[in-house]
């Protein structure tokens, strides 16, 4: 199932089968497709249709996993946190007032769970995501890459580019990484991102600019047509 705009969900349980199309599933046949609103799904869950809860959660999986990964930097920990967040959301669904989108609410729960785990497990390494003292207030000077060449989207079929993107993302400081994930990967608004992280919108914007420029910087030196770590000598 994919989430579509306007709070509507494209349900396709037959294909979902438990594996999303992105994970290798095939496209749905038209007969199995159905658009359902978030409100309808929530109502179904409240009436006891627990399967409907999975339909709400499934389109959020990518976003909440990457949000957890941004905080924790470890896939196994991120998966556990996502599982805990989903169960917590289910238990507390009565408290969800639909003032925000379900995906935003679930993201907030996931980030809180991830932060609690960092505080618990790696207290000495914990870096708060809140305002604190930002070392990133100054103007960031991007590196110059006069030979930057456009990387076409079709190149994402190549594993080495996907690995380079993941390396670039994980190389960002947590404060910047989580903002980039929420704004540019999960498409949260500036206000939603600020609320999720308990920071001001101005801080979201400052961090987003820096995160985007650093992502570009992190990818460009590797771009030699093969995204290898080492640039061949001219």
């Amino acid at each position: 199932m994919e989430k579509v705009s306007g709070g509507f969900y494209w349900i396709d349980r037959e294909v979902d089968g438990l594996d999303s199309p992105a994970a290798g599933g095939s496209m749905a046949s038209p007969a199995t497709e159905l658009y359902v609103s978030e409100a309808t799904l929530l109502e179904r869950v409240r009436q006891g249709d627990c399967e409907a809860f999975y339909d709400l959660v499934h389109p959020c999986e990518r976003g909440i996993f990457l949000a957890a990964l941004a905080v924790l930097n470890n896939e196994a920990d991120a998966e556990e946190v996502v599982q805990e967040a989903i169960l917590k959301a289910f238990k507390n669904l009565a408290r969800f007032r639909q003032q925000a989108k379900f995906s935003t609410w679930l993201t907030q729960i996931t980030i809180n769970e991830a932060l609690m785990r960092v505080r618990r497990d790696r207290k000495h390494l914990f870096e708060s995501l809140d305002e604190g003292r930002d070392s990133d207030n100054g103007v960031y000077a991007p590196r110059e890459f006069p030979d930057w060449r456009e990387i076409p989207s079709s190149a994402l079929q190549r594993k080495e580019l996907r690995q380079a993107l993941l390396r670039a993302l994980t190389s960002l400081p947590p404060k910047l990484k989580i903002v980039l994930v929420l704004r540019d990967i999960q498409s949260l608004s500036t206000a939603e991102t600020a609320a999720s992280l308990n920071i001001t919108e101005a801080t979201v914007k400052t961090r987003l600019l820096r995160a985007r420029l650093q992502m570009r910087d992190a990818l460009a030196p590797q771009f030699d047509g093969r995204w290898s770590r080492v640039r061949p000598k001219a």
């Binding site: 438990l18 499934h58 000077a141 930057w148 456009e150 994402l156 670039a168 570009r216």
Partner: protein, 83 residues
């Protein structure tokens, strides 16, 4: 007449420019600057390129079987609750 803008200000507003969260006057000023400044144009194009890539569903692979494991965990939890 569009305002005259330095590279530093263009970079400072690059994100807002990409997100279309700036005034029409500032947009015009930035676009005029971009018309002659190669460095800022390269930075903007590269940043947009990276954003296009990371927005793509294929950019970051989820761990294999993640959906299935999440669903199974939820089912187990619901089964326990139903008892």
């Amino acid at each position: 007449v569009a305002m005259s803008i330095a590279c530093e200000e263009v970079l400072q507003e690059l994100s807002n420019y990409i997100d279309d969260e700036i005034s029409p006057e500032l947009r015009e000023g930035i676009e005029q600057h971009l018309s002659w400044c190669r460095n800022c144009t390269i930075t903007l194009d590269g940043t947009r390129n990276v954003l296009r890539l990371i927005c793509d569903q294929r950019a970051f692979e989820l761990p294999e079987g993640l959906s299935k494991r999440l669903y199974s965990k939820l089912q187990r939890h619901l089964a326990v609750q139903a008892r």
